[in-house]
Symmetry: C2
Subunit: 456 residues, 2 copies
Amino acid sequence: MQNIDQYLEQNRQRFEQELCQLLRIPSVSADSAHKADVAKAAEWVADQFRGMKLKVELIPTAGNPIVFAESPPVAGAPSVLVYGHYDVQPPDPLTEWKSPPFEPTVRDGNVYARGATDDKGQMFTHLKSTQAWLATVGQLPLQLKFLIEGEEEVGSANLEPFIEANKDKLACNVVVISDTSQFGPGQPAITYGLRGISYYELRLKGPMQDLHSGTFGGGVSNPANALVAMLSALINERGQVQVPGFYDDVDPLTGRERAEFAKLPFDEAEFMRKLGVKGLRGEEGFTTLERRWARPTFDINGLWSGYQGEGAKTVLPAKAGAKFSFRLVPKQDPKKLSAALEKKLRELCPPGIEMELVDFHGAPGVTVPLESPFVSAASQAISEGFGKTPVFMREGGSIPVVATFHELLGVDTLLLGWGLDDDNTHSPNEKFSLADFHRGIKSSAHLWRHLSQIRA
Amino acid sequence: MQNIDQYLEQNRQRFEQELCQLLRIPSVSADSAHKADVAKAAEWVADQFRGMKLKVELIPTAGNPIVFAESPPVAGAPSVLVYGHYDVQPPDPLTEWKSPPFEPTVRDGNVYARGATDDKGQMFTHLKSTQAWLATVGQLPLQLKFLIEGEEEVGSANLEPFIEANKDKLACNVVVISDTSQFGPGQPAITYGLRGISYYELRLKGPMQDLHSGTFGGGVSNPANALVAMLSALINERGQVQVPGFYDDVDPLTGRERAEFAKLPFDEAEFMRKLGVKGLRGEEGFTTLERRWARPTFDINGLWSGYQGEGAKTVLPAKAGAKFSFRLVPKQDPKKLSAALEKKLRELCPPGIEMELVDFHGAPGVTVPLESPFVSAASQAISEGFGKTPVFMREGGSIPVVATFHELLGVDTLLLGWGLDDDNTHSPNEKFSLADFHRGIKSSAHLWRHLSQIRA
């Protein structure tokens, strides 16, 4: 790897310049005014692969094009699929940016621009590591496939159908995604678990129209009263979800995981200070990290009923509604949950109230077994790239494409985040540490080697 | 009373013409464009009293004038204060009126106009009965005082200070108000009880800003979860309020009251059909009428938190809030309730949530003892005026001025409603039955006689 490492050192400046080229393209997928910029970014990425003499396709979809590139198979070595996205969030509010969002500017070792960390900068590390192999060794030690989409920031509506229709093309042994964060500054991490989600809207209808709460109060079911009673019955005061069967498929946290979590330098006082809260509360019997990363939850995301204006209005509302979601851990089945939830809510629904439960979407949680050789390979590569052994963490959110890869391609995903929590993803002044950019490239280059040594 | 009854018969047409004069004045108190019309209506009412040679004052307030008139005291007979209002609700939406709101039109024995029943038509009955006494007998058998305000439809902000400052002027033995409804067509009623109210807003604050429900869910208290848990803890599934001490001062319904309620021709199936509900639910152990009229309640009037738009947003809200109110029965003290409620909510509030409880307003419930001689007098008068014995009913809403009269003047109020439930109060096509208008005048004329026989 010496030649490669040397090549990376010698090309730092060029890599940064190229990254800035990509960051200058305002590929905002949510804004149709940027349609041409989105196309330009796709072309720019495709050009990178063309420069490496990889087989490249720019594949149109109902939305923005997918860039697909691949190197030849290598006998006995695995195939690895790299997923990333070239589209970015809108930059608003513009006035809060210290330097313009599409004029990448370096301050204190960070490049500031929309997309710096999410996901142009992180995704680009895997292109540069690949180029380094090809420029020095002349070939890759394993087959790489790149799937770089342009609709991640608007829901990836065309991605799953594409994967479904192209299972052979995308066939691989493992997926690599760099679109997350390190545990903290100077502490790289491998994210080996994501929670799933099941999201619902509950709509309750009582009387035909809003009634006078004096004349009718006590005589007729109040949908807002019913709503709070029904929702509060879904979780007890110990933070345990009360939908029958909810925990049946929840694997207990292993001793190893709990020990690993406990070793992480998580500062609860600092966490509370950042959030502006004076206390924390969640499922009894688990630490804050365990509750955020590895335990299922019930959270109300929205509530509405009756009069929300100023002052007092004595109305008995005709309707009430809520949006709420469960975060799920692996093996919990959103469909099974939906059925049990609907049954429970119907039992709780009082006379005189009609209920409708809208099932928005469900995605199961995923974990990569810590014992997986892919995880070991990633751990070694990151140790070499960052000069520090990565910690193993999970993440409370959901990255639906990871579940899709698992379901449709039957493979696990390595989530190797080079970003930091305070990179201002989706916010003004998005940034990416250039040191981490280069460490990411080096880790990626070493990853190809370590992964190539796993028998496919 | 024969002369009086004969006079009333002979003057039916004139009474109706005069009522129409008053109804033609668009005295909409909520609309400053009608300021002059409001003043005109006050003058018109004052002129009526001047025509009867009563002592009249048109008293300016910070808002609209109060018309006050009185007849001389009668030794040994009580003084009676008649309260009413000359202002009306806005007529919108205008397009839904079959005839213009300020061009009174008679159809099927009803006069259609804004203010027909609320409260010009009903209030006017007491002026005409008084005039009948003066025109025939030459004097009243008791002292009458009239307090006719012009801000009832906008909250009567200037009324309580006026009463407070004029206790001597307003001193009386009983108050009479006609601004409610009969039990049903052909079934007059005396409303002898009103519920009080205590209205609150609960504001919960969690993290400084909305958080990602995946990354943070389970780790930090969710204000919307806390809100539904706290609110649902205020009432159990049997419909019983769970604030400590809430029922301590609630008198049980008497056997007589329950028997009277049970005798009323209340059609529960028809009630449900009108409301569009398939079932009713309220405090266990009580009938629907008992629950609406004579039992305290807890109703949520408004709810809000997080995302209320279309689709799914995975937000852990920073804030949640609710408006809610208790309807109270006599002897329940809103201040005592506020203290117990705040204590209970603070106990329920989980770590990481800050709560604020806003106490909007409280008014106690009131009842007139059924054994009161004033009630008997009213019952006899109505029997004579309507040709049918009135039933005794209560009303679930609150008429704050009734509690004010009780508190500041130490007197009960007779609520003698000549209207009907379907009079479209506050709605297009407001109406008042002319037959009931004349029955009301006759009842009122007889009421003065029956009340005069009570020793003051």
